[in-house]
């Protein structure tokens, strides 16, 4: 399965590399466009000094983590986006069903967008800028926590893509609300969760656990306490939460597949 994954993804990447100029323009384009997101945050914080008691560097840590997770998820998980929507619209999901491989695996490998590295590079740059300027003790535990959080964040965004795709089994097209959750969620988690109202904090730490892409980990690394009493050890639960959320998303996918009625034609 793993070998097959890399075989399929390798083919996708070779195909994209046939158009080198287009690839490079896209890579740089995404780097600039997503760079603007942080540019805005930086301009605001330079004007105002801090947001909810968090400095520019601290906010940069939050932003870098959420942006990197989204970038990685977009790179490997875009198969759940337009390629899958196309399958739904054209009814070509039928052919997926008759192949001797899992549906989830086939849709997952239907696209791999290397150009999304543009966002990843930008996010890594912001992250390095933050970590360079913050007085974080780099113990082994902290390094492990940081890596775990990046994995967890990527999984959470992937699960959201998967849920968006699954809704297509009923609606054919991914509803706009998923884009709001994913890209709105990314912008939202770029600021400390403590500035939002209680129902929003609860929502983004439970039902849509996007808060876990960065907030508890940032609290831990920066030795901060949450003004609403969020326990510090929650940082170590990010991966667990992400896996649970993925489990829910996969179960939902199964339900969706069993509801599939082809559009025909």
């Amino acid at each position: 399965m793993v070998r097959l994954y890399f075989l399929l993804i390798g083919a996708r990447i070779r195909a994209q590399m046939q158009y080198k100029v287009s690839f490079l323009i896209n890579l740089v384009g995404f780097m600039l466009l997503t760079g603007l997101e942080f540019g805005v945050v930086a301009v605001l914080l330079l004007r105002f000094g801090s947001v909810g008691g968090w400095s520019l560097y601290e906010v940069a840590l939050l932003y870098g983590l959420t942006s990197l997770a989204l970038g990685l998820a977009e790179m490997i998980g875009r198969g759940f986006d337009s390629p899958f929507e196309q399958m739904m619209v054209q009814g070509s999901f039928d052919s997926i069903l008759v192949r001797p491989l899992g549906t989830l695996f086939q849709v997952f490998t239907s696209d791999f967008q290397l150009r999304r590295l543009g966002r990843c590079f930008q996010a890594i740059a912001v992250l390095v800028y933050a970590l360079w300027n913050l007085p974080i003790v780099w113990s082994l535990a902290n390094v492990v926590l940081l890596l775990l959080t990046i994995v967890a964040g990527t999984l959470i965004y992937l699960a959201l893509f998967l849920i968006g795709a699954t809704i297509c089994f009923w609606t054919i097209k991914t509803p706009e609300v998923m884009n709001v959750l994913i890209f709105g969620g990314e912008e939202m988690t770029g600021y400390p969760l403590s500035i939002y109202s209680s129902w929003m904090r609860t929502l983004f730490l439970s039902v849509v656990p996007l808060g876990f892409v960065n907030y508890p980990t940032a609290l831990w690394l920066l030795n901060r306490t949450d003004p609403y009493g969020l326990p510090a050890w929650l940082a170590w639960c990010s991966l667990l939460v992400a896996l649970l959320f993925c489990g829910v998303a996969v179960a939902f996918w199964r339900l969706g597949v069993s509801h599939y009625t082809s559009t025909g034609s």
């Binding site: 466009l33 301009v43 609300v177 912008e187």
Partner: protein, 264 residues
């Protein structure tokens, strides 16, 4: 004139028909409006009362105005309809018809955007007024804003037309769109007021055309530009209408002379 009016009317009715699309659009814009308002509340929470000429209420209202104007091209332009006709070659049919090609697309765009202003923008801003106490302008300010908005619609259309015409030369539009939309988002004042920028960036934004689309109308709406400043804003917008519109027409002429249309 009657022809263009009919084109605009049909375009108006076409967008009005997709109710779920514009309801989803309003909710999306409202989400981002609410999110950014909360961020402003937190930013001003650290003690500042006036930052770069903006009070908290003005910053929040500014956010809602720019969100409300998304559907008229304040944040990004799309290149679907016209560009697709160029790619497919169907543009030939439109060029052969006895009308002004520019005028046809202008009336199509205006019809659609007049609907968006009346429906999407108004409802989006209303949510901002109800939930975040966004500013309600006086009748005079509303009038000044209406003038500014019409000029903004024309600049925005000219920019969109220029970008679409690039399809006559370029096979891949993603690069152009990414670059233009990035510039538009930053230098129009869509993401944050231009007054918040560091000085060199603000100066750059003031000489680029993008602020005529979003930043200036939003400031007029908030009543930040009155008297001479208002006249200057209008004049600047008019200047960009003429420059951008003129460039669009000139580029169209070049395209007509040089380009072999594909397909057919």
């Amino acid at each position: 004139m009657r022809l263009y009016f009919e084109v605009a009317r049909r375009s108006f009715r076409r967008v009005a028909a997709y109710r779920s699309a514009y309801v989803a659009g309003i909710l999306t814009n409202a989400f981002f409006g609410a999110l950014r308002s909360v961020v402003y509340i937190a930013l001003f929470g650290s003690g500042a009362t006036v930052v770069a000429g903006f009070t908290l209420q003005e910053a929040i209202s500014y956010t809602w105005v720019t969100q409300a104007l998304i559907s008229i091209g304040a944040g990004w332009i799309d290149a679907r309809d016209l560009m697709q006709t160029i790619r497919s070659g169907n543009v030939v049919a439109d060029l052969m018809r006895p009308w002004s090609f520019f005028g046809y697309w202008l009336s199509r765009s205006l019809g659609e955007r007049v609907f968006n202003v009346l429906m999407r923008s108004t409802l989006t801003y209303l949510i901002g007024v109800l939930y975040f106490g966004a500013y309600i302008p006086s009748l005079v300010q509303a009038g000044a804003f209406a003038v500014s908005l019409i000029l903004a619609l024309l600049v925005s259309f000219a920019l969109q037309f220029l970008v679409n015409l690039s399809a006559f030369w370029l096979m891949d539009d993603t690069g152009v769109l990414l670059v233009v939309n990035s510039l538009l988002q930053v230098f129009s004042g869509f993401l944050i007021p231009l007054a918040f920028f560091p000085e060199p960036l603000e100066l750059l934004a003031r000489v680029l055309p993008f602020q005529a689309i979003t930043g200036l109308p939003a400031q007029v709406f908030l009543g930040q530009l009155t008297g001479v400043a208002l006249l200057q804003a209008w004049a600047l917008q008019l200047f960009w209408v003429l420059v951008m519109g003129g460039s669009a027409l000139a580029l169209l002429r070049v395209a007509m002379q040089k380009v072999v249309i594909q397909g057919g």
